[in-house]
Subunit: 407 residues, 2 copies
């Protein structure tokens, strides 16, 4: 397959050439932004006609402001250190062998996503920088805009003397995608991004390893010894900044010892137009709170809704998170040192925070520069996946004639 061929060239491309492709792509976005806006407007119009959900239409929009954000992202990814060829874990063995691990590209990545054309830019940039070839299968609702961005990638690659097959925007139908998901000799990893159903579908049918998360049922646990001001800031930030992203919090757990504080919390949330659904204890302490159903505890609202539950202690909080959470991002708010420590140890989520907003589950905030998605899997990459997550490694061994046995 052409992507496999191209991946061999990209794997060996030098850093400066790869960066030049990203800068050239940024230039194309700058110079030909109006074409993109126009193609996107047609996509949006078509989506409107077909009655796409407003939340999805919102994601589909790729306007001047979003294009500028992508240009900045491209320049930033170009400025990141090249992971390919980095050597780490180097050591000299007693027999004199020098051993290290060298980061190498994964090979060919298939990205399957809905709506968001910005993934077409961002995914391409990160995959290329990490030395991989990439096949981008965006949603049909973003067809025109993605096709145009695909041509820009071809142009940028060609200008820099790299194979244009290294970033391929494809638009074929479901059956062809399902066929692709069986080609484990041609594709090394699949990154599906989108709703739970899309990801379940891909998992069912893929014989290729995935980097994925299904959903983000994230918690803020306000524990014994919490600073209430910090707690409120964190609860509000974890919901309001971007209610529809996977790392927005869905549930607040509050120690029963802090029940007196519940009316303040509920009223602050209401002032910020957040609907509250509470357990019986919460309903008793704050007025007019809708009772939460069993389903609420495992629901990713992706909306201005919080479920709130009173817990008797940290045991119950951690148990609740283990049972209902999705292993994505969970926070404890407390000034109690031992409790913070225990939460960090015992909560097995991809990102566990003390006294900080769930919004920091993000490649840039955690120091990776940029991310291609979040993983809640335990194999290979967990949490935000940056350049390093798009690489593998090989052992490199420098000897001087060493053999193991007597010959």
């Amino acid at each position: 397959m052409r992507a496999r061929e191209a991946s061999r060239t990209i794997a060996r491309a030098d850093t400066e050439t790869k960066n030049e492709v990203l800068r050239r792509m940024a230039m194309l976005l700058e110079e030909r932004g109006e074409e993109i806006v126009k193609a996107n407007a047609q996509d949006v119009e078509g989506a409107g006609r077909r009655g796409l959900r407003p939340a999805l239409v919102e994601r589909l929009v790729f306007d001047k402001r979003k294009i500028q954000a992508r240009i900045r992202a491209l320049m930033k990814i170009a400025a990141l250190a090249d992971p390919v060829g980095q050597i780490y874990g180097a050591d000299r063995r007693p027999n004199g062998l020098m051993v290290g691990r060298m980061r190498v590209p994964l090979g060919v990545i298939l990205m399957i996503y809905e709506a968001r054309p910005h993934v077409t830019v961002n995914g391409g940039a990160l995959a290329l920088k990490a030395g991989n070839a990439l096949i981008l299968k965006g949603g049909s609702e973003a067809k025109l805009c993605n096709a145009l961005l695909g041509r820009f990638w071809m142009d940028a690659l060609e200008t820099c003397g790299l194979p244009t097959d290294a970033v391929q925007v494809v638009s074929f139908g479901h059956d062809a995608v399902f066929e692709l998901l069986k080609q484990d000799d041609l594709i090394d990893v699949v990154i599906p991004r989108g709703g739970k159903e899309l990801i379940k579908d891909v998992r069912e049918r893929s014989r290729i390893p995935l980097i994925k998360h299904f959903e983000g049922v994230c918690h803020v646990y306000v524990a014994h010894g919490a600073d209430k001001k910090k707690a409120l800031d964190i609860i509000l930030d974890s919901k309001l900044l971007m209610p529809a992203v996977c790392n927005a919090a869905e549930t607040v757990l509050v120690d029963e010892a802090l029940c007196e504080w519940l009316p303040d919390l509920v009223s602050a949330l209401r002032q910020n137009k957040v609907e509250v659904r509470g357990c019986p204890v919460v309903c008793r302490h704050a007025s007019d709170v809708k009772p939460a159903s069993e389903d609420d505890w495992s629901t990713e609202y992706l909306d201005r809704i919080y479920s709130i539950k009173a817990v008797s202690d940290a045991d119950e909080a951690i148990e609740h998170i283990t049972r209902y959470g999705s292993g994505h991002t969970d926070v404890i708010v407390t000034e109690d040192y031992s409790l913070a420590n225990r939460f960090i140890q015992e909560v097995d989520s991809s990102v566990v925070l003390v006294n900080a907003s769930t919004m920091f589950c993000d490649g840039e905030s955690l120091g990776m520069g940029a991310e291609v998605g979040i993983s809640t899997d335990k194999l290979h990459a967990r949490g935000p996946v940056g350049l390093e997550g798009l690489t593998s490694y090989k052992f490199v061994v420098f000897g001087d004639g060493q053999i193991m046995g007597q010959t």
Copy 2:
């Protein structure tokens, strides 16, 4: 499932308790070695009756010497650093957040293997040390010995107050195994060890990620500028030490400039009872060499046979390795600095060596203390898989009330 339950306890077990289990297991092997030898003898007898291949019978044997080796391995794994809870990549972000990655166990591991009862000891020790629960499905030919070792594990776990479900030796049939391979909510990773067919079978049917390799078609490339003494030592060691292991070399590539040396090489191999199959150039230079067929270049002999090919230059050698190799372990012998460098960069195998035997593709030689197998996959773990390969990580973030936006 019971293994999932047990994995939660093992994940939190302290280092000393885990080490105590390993030492207790070593003690049981020491004290009750004769029972093991007896059970194994019955297995071997049964295998003989059923006409198992001699190579497999050889692997099945678990005698006093092999038991002693396992006792030493257990003590050594007990002495290794505990990977669980290690923090790495720690950094302080500009907003004051302290961010790090904490190693955590993978969860539940399923190991599927043929014959070799030593895997029942070794796999259990490494999985436990890395905080995982383990299900061991050995071959039916090793049933009695494995069952006994399974009882020892239970005994050792119970004595140390850990759940006996943490290491389970199961002996059910193929259908039940295939059923297990669908339980991706109960098992986190599958490690198949054995013949190519076994591994293909597991891959076909598994919905759970695998850590695996199919085969080892490993090369020694004797390049321009090679020290012939080192080359010969490495070629002999890479085959003779253990001809039946995956990292034994199968093919020697020799630069055409070194053709005069071919008769010496062939005669040295013959003296060591190694059969040689050569390309036309090799057959022309050395007498009585059997011509290699196209199939020879991709065959893992696992036997005292070498295929030898003359190549015109490094390009041809690297191309040959890329085309016919299995991405396992490949060696260049040369004193030419730039050539060594190029080989290291361009050969994309799990272990790439300069002037050293393929035998060093081994967890202990490469500094991991011990290994649970070799991976030629690019996701998660590549090359020898040690304790670290049996862990995942989570991001841990220590804040002081940080939020991302204005609330």
